[in-house]
Point group: C2
Amino acid sequence: MEPGSDLGLGDSPLHRYLDGEFWRLKNELRRVLGGCPLFRHRYDLSLDEMRALTFQRVTFTMGLPLLKRAIQEQEFVINTPCENAEKMYIGNAMYGNYAAVFAQLIINGRSQGPHCFIVPVRDEDGNLYPGVTAIDMMYKEGLHGVDNGILIFDKVRIPRENLLDKFGSVTPEGQYHSRIKNKSARFNAMLAALTPSRLAVTFQAMGAMKLGLTIAIRYSHSRRQFGPKAKEEVKIIEHQTQTLRLMPHLATALALTFASRYAGVLLDEDVFHGKELVDSRPLQALVAGLKAYSTWENIRCLQDCRECTGGMGYMMENRISGLKCDTDVFVTFEGDNVVLLQVVVRELLAQYTKQYEERPITSLLQSWAKSGGDKLRTSFLAFNMDTVGNLTFLLKAVNFRERVLQRSLVARIYYKVMTKKEDFFSAWNSCLHHVASLSLAHIHRVTLEQFSLAVRRCPDQEDQALLMKFCLLYGTRLVFQERAWYLEHKYLTPRASMRIRTQLLDLCDSVKDDALRVISAFNIPHTSLHAPIAGITNPLAAWAFYPAPLLSPAREGARSRRPKLEAKL
Amino acid sequence: MEPGSDLGLGDSPLHRYLDGEFWRLKNELRRVLGGCPLFRHRYDLSLDEMRALTFQRVTFTMGLPLLKRAIQEQEFVINTPCENAEKMYIGNAMYGNYAAVFAQLIINGRSQGPHCFIVPVRDEDGNLYPGVTAIDMMYKEGLHGVDNGILIFDKVRIPRENLLDKFGSVTPEGQYHSRIKNKSARFNAMLAALTPSRLAVTFQAMGAMKLGLTIAIRYSHSRRQFGPKAKEEVKIIEHQTQTLRLMPHLATALALTFASRYAGVLLDEDVFHGKELVDSRPLQALVAGLKAYSTWENIRCLQDCRECTGGMGYMMENRISGLKCDTDVFVTFEGDNVVLLQVVVRELLAQYTKQYEERPITSLLQSWAKSGGDKLRTSFLAFNMDTVGNLTFLLKAVNFRERVLQRSLVARIYYKVMTKKEDFFSAWNSCLHHVASLSLAHIHRVTLEQFSLAVRRCPDQEDQALLMKFCLLYGTRLVFQERAWYLEHKYLTPRASMRIRTQLLDLCDSVKDDALRVISAFNIPHTSLHAPIAGITNPLAAWAFYPAPLLSPAREGARSRRPKLEAKL
């Protein structure tokens, strides 16, 4: 018996490909945490009990030698936490011994902008130091294991060494030094430090999606309801609406796996090359956008998982409801999603301006006019109906949308600010819907591109064929949901648009069995899965148990493509 | 000081118009429940405490003389509860003394179909009777005040009189009698009894929307963030994305107010005229559709309210998170929404078939062909850009969409079943997405029509002007969200479609101050509102307090339309 097999873990080329570079570490963590009683899913504890358990879990995990080894490198992240200007929502404010506090650094009456300080808030016995007040914000929708609190400081004295001096330091004589002379550039440098934690939120949102989808898809392949007269009822995965609700989310979870890995690699490279994050503005924009996109997708995905599992999905025992409540906060923390979409677009416009900055104004307008021609050049593709199902067509379509939205936004803001003399804030504000659309269009394009590249690079031919189906589904979903825009811009004809709808329905239907292979390759330990409706027994909720669906004979999805294999089976 | 003013209640023509016929009773209830400490918002209790409190609340409410008077009539509802076939999810299963149980009635070995029986499950001391087992399903996402359990009966004997004999009775000699001879018609008659409770869910969903919107809109008019350089930050309601997210929900809450009242009046008339609900199939379809539509709208609305209030909205203190968790179950209980959409369409098709049943098959196909002509006849409207903002255009558009979807669905199913000889289940299943679209299109049409009628009937001219704006917004939202379909069917030109987008943005911006008048007319007692971010003080969470926004000088929204008034102010 393979180690870990009691946790429902597997190991195949697809498992490893979805895990990526760190598959060994991930497998080790799955075995250690999945087998540890501390990590059993709990939802029946009081607020205090849940907080205490979370503390134990964190202590246990951070003490694991394998993790200590792995994170001694990934340090820049840990040293730069940040809370919002009002000092609210501080995690672990009720128990922590130290706080990392952003405060204006004022020397000889002159402000050098916000800097980060380490402030001791409690002694070893947990008593607050004089001048420190902590208020517990108590009950939230979810994340009950971590308290959120408010910290108030009344003239608390800390040693000079407690200034984190990455961006600025003070000599014993009170002289301020910083490599970054401009105060607002210095503030931006500090904000850049949010990039790794935003990427971490993306990974957490993806993890929640994978967990929810695994439960909902296993149940859908097991629970039966309705069917042809006088015959056995069909599995609910057979209902068209069920596949239409679940399969696009599964395709999105895969797409995000590769897009966020791409961002992770870029971030790693920057860190290893000692590059300041502030110099990687395109990366900051990418991560801000991925955080917004993935956390919104997660909310939609879990809501559909909840609804697709009916009353069973409403019971905490089955995990999905709790996930929803815990991850709901992702859309507004570490930067509100609507604000992050604006961060993305500011960066896109900065690139655009750079591109045109030395040309006269007329060329800017000219380039806007050009986007009309651009539209005509590429739109003929949609008239040939067969190309709609082609990945190249889908890639071109999302690319086209991003470019047109970008150029038209530039033109609108230029007109408002330069011609109509509106102040920048009003001009920008009256284009916010446009800004949000462009931002998501950008992230969609990058995500589809990264998914396509990952399909191309997949070493196993059968896995590649499987991933290709989901990649097509993902691209089709993107074009489908924005088909009104493509019709408005005559990039799709009405017939091609209807064809996209049929294609979406057909693809969802065609991947519903492959879905079992994909969720198996997510490789979630049974102890984390927990849900009886996903086939995990629990004597306390025998009423919720549904047997796990069997994975069809190895790689059925790929068989039809490889008749040679078929003979062997 | 007006009675009830400490609860933040008001009384104006608009307040009464939104309340409708029963405004006196509603006001009385607001005062009694709003002033009673039992009904203070609680989220800090254990499961057992929450259940005990809910029991006290129900006992108190049902004992109110004013309510006893009012519901001695609304009886049919109370006598016909129903649980699903597996006897799971039974509310109050852990404490109740009696259960209403649907069971197959078998007499002399012959089944007469399911009938409803009153089964005593516990004695006065709460001990289960022999043969009865009750299992607690424990923790759910929300609705912690009501337990859900499983009841199992092992040969429990009950007197013959305990059969609820509305649809069938048994004589002491064991003879079965029923007015409805057909067994499946009899089952349908019993299902019809679900109609009043489905309508009740619609009202609850609407109530949650109104509560969430009141909190989110008050906060948005009070909290400030971002703004023009070197000036005061603006109220977040000024952000284009904020109005775009909240105002359409407010318009929908108003639309649902009048659509559900319409259904309620029909139901009342039927009950008063002694009509069997089973004979009101269009009403059943309407209520099934309204339940699905309103509960989904509620989920989306509360999610936006939560996100629009940021981290504050995540705190239980501010009410929205708890509402989300409590009402999430509405989309799958009392009939899963996806199933209910099918109920709606079966009724629409039954009407259609009736209309054509005596004509030959060719006329059916002919009528399908006619819908093409229909399309051309009405679509020219969209070419004249000015008509897009016209309520008549919007009403025609939603009407057109319903008819085309209905005819094309008939044609598709006819082709699959009659020509291709598919079994009905497969044919229906492969059209489920189409079915769902038609069903919602039907409900959208009825809802917009009822809203328009309510605007027309509004006795106060200024209130009428106010409601008209929101009615236009609601119609614009409906056409906007389906604009791809209208473009595919050439009912909108690309230019008209873009115009719809602009119109939506402009309307959302133009009603953002009027929104304060609307939520004030929802007339929710401060004790129910509870949220500090909505201006309700709470010494336990002083950190969350934001002062309530002031209602602008009386009826500002209407001033521009009535210059005479302006002179007086």
